[in-house]
């Protein structure tokens, strides 16, 4: 039975259900056991499954990921947490040089089914070190899935699918969605494909590619544009690596125009790859340049409220981008 719950409750429910279903699933990270996590994503797990399966780790992202990798080699399916994307630095090597390449370097002899949950994104006053997006570093490297769900429904279904997937997965959760994103979510466990983008709103006049918190901002803008006579198709990527090229390219082939919206800084954000792919695969269908509405190329996100507002993409900025594209 479905009920309306928040993004964070969806994540919490997915964790509860997968841990119940499969005793190999275990959790480790900072402040997530007794504390239940900064945002309470792991609330109740410690109480239900105990310290053996829900471990408050020492403050060291490197060993959090490496311990998960090691445990996966003896049959566990660990779900380590990186508290904020901004603090993933110590774990970049464990994630990209170890986890993402383990299958490859052993020619399939070892596999590494871990799901790394990471909280990302700005717009909550977190400042320079509690707001970042660094999906690019990871999406650049083959061998690890990079996911960024935007709805409560996807958050639950994709997290369950990720835990069951044999590949290492980075599961990026946008902190602004935790309590604002709500959807009908079935009580029972279910999975959402890790290979498919979602067409959130079909449309004829342009395609808007986006993901994460921006997906909701774009949806609002699209409705507004509809009133102004522009019918936008909104594609929520959901997976940042590998990308669902098929859905993306087909949509733009149909609408002939494409706007990319992301919160990340412009240069080498996910939008860069999207634009390059479309140029390669839908060039003859393009009636206008592919445009990007993104964070500016400044360190994300300066603290003071006017600076944060300047950084963040909002509905007005998206509308301006859509108007510009439509007018081209």
């Amino acid at each position: 039975m479905a009920r309306t719950i928040t993004y964070i409750d969806a994540i919490n429910e997915a964790l509860h259900q997968e841990m119940e279903r499969d005793s190999r699933v275990c959790i480790l990270g900072e402040d997530l056991g007794m504390g239940g996590g900064v945002f309470k994503a792991t609330a109740g797990l410690y109480q239900k499954f105990g310290e053996e399966r829900v471990l408050d780790s020492p403050l060291a992202e490197g060993i959090i990921i490496a311990a998960a990798i090691g445990a996966s080699l003896v049959g566990y399916r660990p779900v380590p947490e990186i508290q904020f994307a901004d603090f993933i630095g110590d774990a970049v090597d464990p994630i990209l040089q170890q986890a993402a390449k383990l299958r490859y370097r052993s020619a399939g002899g070892y596999s590494c089914p871990i799901t790394i949950r990471v909280c990302w994104g700005g717009g909550t006053g977190g400042g320079l070190y509690h707001s970042q997006e660094n999906t690019t570093w990871f999406a650049h490297e083959p061998g690890i899935r990079v996911l960024a769900p935007s709805t409560a429904y996807d958050a639950k279904g994709m997290l369950i699918a990720a835990i069951r997937d044999e590949n290492p997965v980075l599961f990026f959760e946008h902190k602004k969605l935790y309590r604002t994103a709500k959807s009908e979510v079935p009580e029972e466990p279910y999975t959402v494909s890790l290979d498919e983008a979602a067409v959130r709103r079909p449309g004829r006049d342009m395609t808007v590619l986006t993901y994460g918190y921006m997906a909701s901002v774009v949806m609002e803008a699209a409705e507004e544009m509809a009133k102004r006579g522009v019918d936008a198709e909104v594609v929520d990527l959901r997976t940042l690596a590998p990308l669902d090229k098929k859905t993306i390219v087909e949509s733009v082939r149909k609408t002939n125009r494409c706007l990319i919206v992301h919160e990340d800084t412009k240069t080498l954000g996910i939008g860069a790859e999207l634009s390059a792919i479309l140029n390669e695969e839908a060039f003859d269908d393009l009636d206008a340049p592919i445009m990007r509405v993104t964070g500016p190329d400044v360190p994300p996100v300066p603290f003071s409220p006017p600076l944060e507002k300047f950084f963040m993409v909002d509905k007005e900025k998206v509308l301006a981008g859509m108007e510009k594209l439509a007018a081209y």
């Binding site: 900072e30 900064v38 490197g62 320079l128 070190y129 400044v298 603290f303 409220p305 300047f310």
Partner: protein
């Protein structure tokens, strides 16, 4: 500020057991100031006066003041998230400190960094980043530079118990050990890293033993005994100045409130909190001073009144200070 004079003269020449009355009152005054500023910062946050978050140091003032009080102007401080008040000890004007909370243009970083991450270039306070232990590493680099310049300045760097688990903490200590750098690593062991208790953080009992893994000096003291901290710190600083290398100084202490202002800290037993509140470093030092006839109720009141006035002025100043223009977001990226 009278304490400035004290700081310059009281240190080094006075044996630890004979602290001058001026020094003792200076320490006292500074502890009270840190406490009151911190409590004010908490209230302002609860009142929604500024965005972001705040990491209270209340309860830990013994370590914060004791370790940094004797520093000279040419010494450096490398604070972490819970050390906003260390800027005050190093001499930062309260107006700047409160403007920092508000993210206003009169903060040293014009609102770029969060309330917790205050730096002050003129006072050699390194603007912190959130990354745990980064300040220790950069501070160690500063110490390396100072040593190579044959200066006798030192660097004091603060961190918590949790920070001693991350690899970079050890890289810093190891490097400082190899080069016998003029560093003092103050570990404020408050028993918790967010909700993670010490037993899940390390197999050690004394975090000063971290030093043993790098062949450097480690000392553990009661962090709520400001004189114990002060004595250990001044000794370590003197050794550092004399080229005798770095020290890890563990201050055993406790944070009274949640990890940050949004943490109700339900993971801790109320008894534990109550127990530690009894060990409050301020009344303890007040008793010490009163026993020596150095402190009366009148002086206490006078100290608090003066600080209250200073804080009120600073808050008013911060509130009036303008926010940066939105486009300032584009500044200060490239040289």
């Amino acid at each position: 500020m009278a304490t400035k004079v004290n700081r310059a003269t009281a240190v080094g020449d006075a044996p630890a057991s004979r602290h001058s009355p001026e020094l003792l009152l200076g320490l006292y005054r500074m502890m009270v100031k840190c406490r009151m500023c911190d409590e004010k910062a908490r209230i302002l946050f609860k009142q929604g006066k500024y965005a972001g978050n705040f990491y209270s140091n209340v309860g830990q003032e013994g370590g914060e003041v004791g370790a940094a009080f004797s520093l000279r102007e040419d010494d450096w401080v490398a604070p972490s998230h819970r050390d906003w008040t260390s800027c005050i000890v190093k001499g930062a004007p309260l107006k700047a400190c409160f403007a920092q909370l508000y993210g206003k243009t009169d903060s040293p970083d014009r609102g770029k960094s969060t309330p917790a991450h205050m730096g002050y270039p003129e006072l050699h306070i390194i603007t912190p980043a959130s990354t745990i232990a980064a300040q220790l590493m950069i501070g160690t680099g500063v110490a390396w530079g100072l040593k190579r310049q044959a200066k006798d300045s030192v660097v004091v760097s603060f961190c918590g118990d949790g920070a001693t688990s991350i690899g970079w903490f050890h890289e810093a200590l190891n490097f400082a050990g190899v080069h016998r750098l003029p560093m003092l690593y103050v570990v404020q062991n408050n028993l918790w890293a967010e909700s993670v208790p010490l037993r899940l953080q390390t197999a050690l009992t004394d975090l000063s033993d971290r030093a043993k893994g790098h062949g450097i000096t480690g000392v553990s003291v009661d962090g709520n005994d400001i004189l114990a901290v002060y004595d250990a710190a001044t000794k370590a600083i003197a050794r550092a100045r004399a080229g005798q290398g770095p020290t890890v100084l563990e201050c055993k202490t406790y944070r009274w409130y949640g990890h940050s202002e949004i943490d109700p800290a339900k993971y801790r037993m109320p008894e534990e909190v109550a127990e530690w509140k009894k060990k409050d470093p301020i009344p303890r030092f007040e008793k010490y001073l009163a026993d020596r006839k150095l402190l009366s109720d009148q002086i206490k009141k006078q100290v608090r009144d003066e600080i209250t006035r200073e804080i009120d002025e600073a808050v008013e100043f911060a509130e009036k200070s303008p926010y940066p223009a939105p486009e300032e977001a584009l500044e200060h990226i490239w040289a």
